[in-house]
């Protein structure tokens, strides 16, 4: 079943001579439960692509269909609501809210949505993230790896159909990297969530079922990984 379809997506910055084409008519689709790695050199447009998929940046042209919804046909308000209900975004620099503690940061999308958490699910996430004894800590009291786990918790708490991660391990050492990837794969496999990860790390890319390589704003290769 198709969870994501991208049609003729373009993003152009600037005009005239200063014009930079970040994405050039990109089209592809992703099935539910897939684990896709997006790779490519710096400035190839992969982060732009991911942000547009996540509904936090706007395309110049083209469509993004998530679960049958054309997300850029939504108004700003509905797009915000759509984001917190259907998409989990993980950034390289965690971006936690400094005044909220770990528990609140994880529950942020629910709190914004005015919904109650599911205690069993929350417990499970916290346990698998290994943050059980850090729930009342503020972000600035955590290590980088712990902060990234909180941001993963935040992305997972809504059981989104689509998890987008922008170099989630780019700031971490290899031990923490391994653990984080294991967590993501675990939720991908256990809950049949779709996972799209941007990475520079070949080892991580090879864990995915499919690798899309982007160069100069276009899809250079789109290959299935055979194990």
């Amino acid at each position: 079943m198709e969870i994501l379809r991208v049609e003729q997506l373009s993003k152009i910055y600037g005009t005239g001579e200063n014009q930079v084409v970040a994405l050039d008519s990109v089209s592809f689709s992703v099935q539910r439960g897939e684990f896709v790695a997006i790779t490519g050199p710096s400035g190839s447009g992969k982060s732009t692509l991911l942000h547009i998929l996540g509904g936090v940046d706007t395309p110049t042209s083209g469509r993004v269909m998530i679960d049958g919804t054309d997300i850029y046909s939504l108004n700003e308000n509905n797009l915000a609501v759509f984001r917190r209900r259907h998409i989990g975004l993980i950034y390289q620099f965690y971006n936690l809210i400094p005044v909220l503690n770990v528990e609140e940061n994880i529950n942020l999308p629910l709190l914004l949505d005015g919904r109650k958490e599911d205690p069993a699910y929350f417990k499970e996430i916290v346990r698998s993230l290994g943050l059980g004894d850090r729930l009342k800590y503020l972000p600035n009291q955590l290590s980088g790896g712990q902060q990234q786990r909180v941001s993963i918790g935040r992305a997972l708490i809504n059981r989104p159909a689509l998890i987008l991660a922008d170099e989630p391990t780019g700031n971490l050492d290899s031990k923490n990297s391994g653990e984080i990837m294991q967590l993501l794969r675990h939720s991908n496999e256990t809950y049949n969530q779709t996972l799209i990860v941007i990475t520079h790390d070949e080892k991580i890319a090879l864990q995915a079922g499919r690798i899309i390589s982007i160069e100069d704003g276009r899809i250079a290769r789109d290959e299935v990984v055979h194990r």
Partner: protein, 876 residues
């Protein structure tokens, strides 16, 4: 320019908005400091001009000097200008009506003295030679001798000599200070004039009475032009010095010069010197200095607490590049100088504007209040904004001090920023979990957005405190001043409310003396027919003592111990007799037939049954003066000349009124006092029995459409006909009180407005920076799905919480200050405690508006950012 300063300048240019707000804040405080010092200079300037008008422009006077000494004084380095005068002698004033002022006293004045001494011409011109004189209008108004311009006077100049000892008076007999010598008992004159010479002079001008002679001086001064070459050699010349440098050393240096030249008699223009801040009274100088210092200190403290904040924000925003320059080798003092340089730049921009605004502001203020000011303080000279180099220096100095104090701490913090801080990007304030803990109730009441809003406020204590303090301070000041004004108004209204009239003519007469009585009545009759009279009433009034039995007293009077052992109490009663028409109105109001007051045998009166005062238990009483049962008899008591008390007659209480009719009043603050009203016939009958020969007041009260004009006209009649009537202009009193209040209001509200503006600038700076620093967080919140509505709700709740916290401190403090002010005002008059609700509402709305607008502004700036741009920018 040094690289570090260039960086600072660029940083200020980048943060245009914040720099502008800081500059506005500093401008406001310069304006305030400037306004105080310009105000001080202007008032001093006004008082100097006022003093010069009455005493003349001079600082030191050397008396009894000869030509040689005059030349020496003129050569003295501190003499800017020298005025000369010489007393030439007394001459009998024929026809003087004032027996203590039988002389003219001729003085010659040099040209400059004629100009600088207080000779204010009413008509004619100043004398141009020694045979022309200008005389004082006083000679006519006080002495009753009417000389005109053009009259030629034959003066028989002489000096004063004691008749019994044949000794001349002081100053070689030219002493115009010692009283004219008349023996009080015999009426014999004990002095004469010894002739010096004859002189014929022409009157060329008439001036106002000068401030140069005492009211008791025996001679009216007249002035001719003094030719310096012809100084008479009597050593009766005076040298009046206008000093070059007016400083505290003046007294000493003048005395030293006097000693050196052998001049021992000298005088100082103390009043004028005081307004130059020069006084030989150290106590006065200390007091002046301490008042000014106190006001300036308050402003500096206020400004420092606010400007300091602006620099703190600036430093924390700059910490990253400060760390970077530190990593490539900037020293501590270089980092510190970056903040100091910012202070200098901001000061350089703000000070000229602040001074300009202060000057314009004071000019406008003075222009508005000058007429009132003159009226209230009896000064004719206009109030003008004056600036001296001391003013400018003082303001610049105080501002520099303010800025320096404000930059000290931020500069120290800047100097401590290390490279690693910049690399780690640690915030200068670290949050602890306890700090942002909120109650569960918050989330339930205000929702998640409210909880987040409260945590946002709590994250930076200093910013939170500054904002709350600014809100509270403005609210306290504004409400307190409003209360002050409202209480002042109430007490003015209460005090003036006692006067139901605009003007009162006060006369005294004996009822038995028909001539004086009719004289007054005929004047009152004419007055009643003058223009602009709306209502008038003529009353006779006198005070009598009544002995009232305890059973007629209200409980409060018994409690207050009015009744003595015999079961009677003494009451002080004001008795008014009114003319028929007014009495008839009062009688009808009381439900009594006016005819009743023709019965002079039973002495019927209407009782104005109201009293107020304090009981023995210190309880307030406002209510009836007597418990009348109808037809009660009231005993009139009187002490005879031997001091024996007797009951002379009894009044009959024919009816009662609750309020004083027009033209009458009652005594306040006494339980055992009230007013009664009756007919003129009854008063006359009573006077025969009680006090056959005592005088009564015969007054007329007037309500007018134009009281001041009417008062002038009446006063003119009174003076012209020399009537024994005193005119009380209650309306002018009221106006004057109002104007005094307005003057205070202008300054107090001006001060409050400026402080509030500084607070507003500060709130704007703090809150908008607080929001701007959260850009990345807001982008993050939006990326995980915070809607626009939720974002605005969060900002609105932050506003609400700031405002509420400000009110939490501000309102109780304001009420407390109001209560203290109320206590001060009610000592004179009893009125219930009330708060100026309208102003409180205004203050609350304004406080919320300032925070709200700032939030809206800051929020809108954030909303325009793209989520990803923000997240990315902050990461790099």
């Amino acid at each position: 320019m040094k690289i570090i300063n260039r960086l600072t300048l660029r940083c200020l240019q980048l943060n245009k908005r914040r720099t502008l707000v800081t500059v506005i804040g500093v401008i406001l405080s310069v304006t305030m400091l400037g306004a105080v010092s310009i105000g001080l200079t202007s008032f001093t300037d006004l008082m100097r001009r006022h003093t010069i008008t009455s005493t003349g422009e001079w600082h030191v006077r050397y008396e009894g000097v000869n030509k040689k000494q005059i030349d020496a004084i003129r050569q003295d380095f501190n003499t800017r200008e020298l005025l000369l005068s010489e007393d030439l002698g007394f001459s009998p004033l024929k026809g003087s009506q004032n027996e203590y002022k039988p002389y003219l006293f001729l003085s010659g004045l040099s040209q400059s003295a004629l100009e600088k001494l207080p000779i204010h011409l009413l008509e004619g011109r100043l004398p141009q030679n020694e045979n022309e004189v200008v005389i004082s209008s006083h000679i006519k108004t006080n002495g009753g001798v009417d000389y005109q311009v053009g009259d030629v006077l034959d003066l028989h100049l002489g000096k004063r000599v004691w008749t019994d000892e044949e000794v001349e008076f002081g100053k070689n007999g030219l002493d115009n200070t010692t009283l004219f010598q008349i023996d009080e008992e015999t009426g014999n004159i004990k002095e004469r004039l010894e002739s010096i010479r004859e002189k014929q002079v022409t009157v060329v001008g008439i001036c106002e009475r000068t401030g140069l002679e005492d009211y008791s001086a025996p001679g009216y001064r007249i002035f001719s032009l003094l030719d310096e070459e012809t100084l008479s050699g009597y050593s009766s010349a005076s040298a009046w010095v206008i000093s070059r440098y007016v400083s505290n050393g003046l007294y000493q240096s003048a005395e030293e010069l006097g000693n050196e030249l052998g001049v021992h008699e000298m005088d100082f223009n103390d009043t004028l010197l005081e307004y130059y801040g020069v006084t030989d009274n150290p106590y006065l100088r200390t007091m002046l200095l301490s008042v000014v210092t106190a006001v300036l200190t308050i402003i500096v403290i206020g400004s420092v607490s606010l400007i300091y904040n602006a620099f703190s924000i600036s430093v924390s925003e700059r910490s990253r590049w400060l760390g970077m320059v530190a990593s490539v080798g900037a020293t501590r003092s270089q980092k510190r100088s970056s903040v100091l340089f910012e202070g200098i730049l901001i000061g350089a921009v703000s000070i000229p504007f602040g001074l300009l605004f202060a000057f314009i502001g004071m000019e406008i203020t003075f222009w508005c209040i000058s007429p009132m000011f003159g009226n209230v303080f009896g000064i004719e000279e206009p109030l003008q904004a004056a600036v001296s180099w001391e003013t400018v220096l003082l303001t610049v100095g105080m501002t520099a001090l303010t800025i320096w104090l404000s930059t000290r701490a931020p500069a120290r913090r800047a100097s401590r920023i290390s490279p690693i801080d910049a690399i780690r990007q640690t915030k200068d304030v670290r949050i602890k979990p306890r700090q942002v803990r909120t109650a569960k109730l918050t989330r339930r009441l205000l929702g998640f957005e409210g909880d987040l809003a409260l945590k946002n406020l709590k994250r930076n204590k200093k910013r939170y405190r500054t904002t709350v303090f600014s809100i509270a301070l403005s609210v306290i000041l504004f409400i307190s001043v409003s209360s002050l004004m409202s209480y002042a108004q109430t007490s003015i209204t209460l005090r003036m409310g006692e006067y139901s009239y605009d003007l009162q003519l006060n006369g005294n007469c004996l009822l038995s003396d028909a001539e004086s009585k009719n004289g007054l009545l005929s004047f009152y009759g004419r007055a009643a027919a003058m223009n602009g009279i709306q209502e008038s009433a003529v009353t006779y009034s006198t005070s009598i003592d009544l002995l009232v039995p305890a059973e007629l007293m209200p409980e409060a009077a018994v409690d207050a111990g009015i009744a003595d052992k015999s079961g009677q109490g003494r009451y002080l009663v004001t008795l008014y007799a009114m003319e028929d028409a007014a009495l008839e109105r009062a009688a009808r109001a009381a439900g009594v037939s006016p005819e009743a007051f023709r019965d002079t045998a039973s002495l019927p009166v209407l009782v104005v049954n109201a009293a107020d005062g304090w009981t023995a238990e210190n309880k307030r009483y406002t209510g009836k003066a007597l418990d009348l049962r109808g037809g009660d008899r009231l005993k009139v008591s009187r002490y005879d000349e031997q001091g024996n008390e007797s009951i002379v007659c009894e009044l009959t209480a024919a009816g009662e009124l609750s309020e004083c009719p027009f033209g009458t009043s009652r005594m306040r603050e006494a339980i055992n006092a009230f007013t009664v009203i009756t007919s003129v016939d009854v008063l006359e009958a009573l006077a025969v029995k009680a006090a056959p020969d005592s005088a009564v007041s015969c007054d007329m009260v007037i309500k007018s459409s134009d009281p001041n004009t009417l008062a002038e006209e009446l006063q003119a009649v009174i003076e012209e006909e020399e009537l024994p009537v005193y005119l009380h202009n209650a309306y002018a009193d009221y106006q004057e009180e109002q104007q005094t209040k307005t003057i205070y209001a202008v300054f107090l509200y001006g001060f409050v407005c400026l402080i509030s503006l500084i607070c507003a600038a500060n709130i704007f700076n703090t809150v908008s920076t607080g929001v701007a620093l959260r850009r990345r967080e807001v982008a993050m919140l939006r990326s995980v799905g915070m809607t626009k509505k939720q974002f605005h709700k969060m900002l609105r709740l932050e506003t609400l919480l700031y405002g509420l916290k400000g009110m939490l401190y501000g309102l109780p403090a304001a009420v407390l200050v109001s209560w203290v002010l109320y206590q001060a005002f009610r000592s004179g008059f009893e009125f219930p405690f009330a708060l100026p609700w309208r102003e409180i509402l205004l203050a609350v709305i304004a406080a919320f508006a300032v925070v709200g607008v700032t939030m809206l502004y800051a929020g809108n700036r954030l909303k325009r950012d793209g989520i990803i741009d923000t997240l990315r920018q902050e990461n790099i």
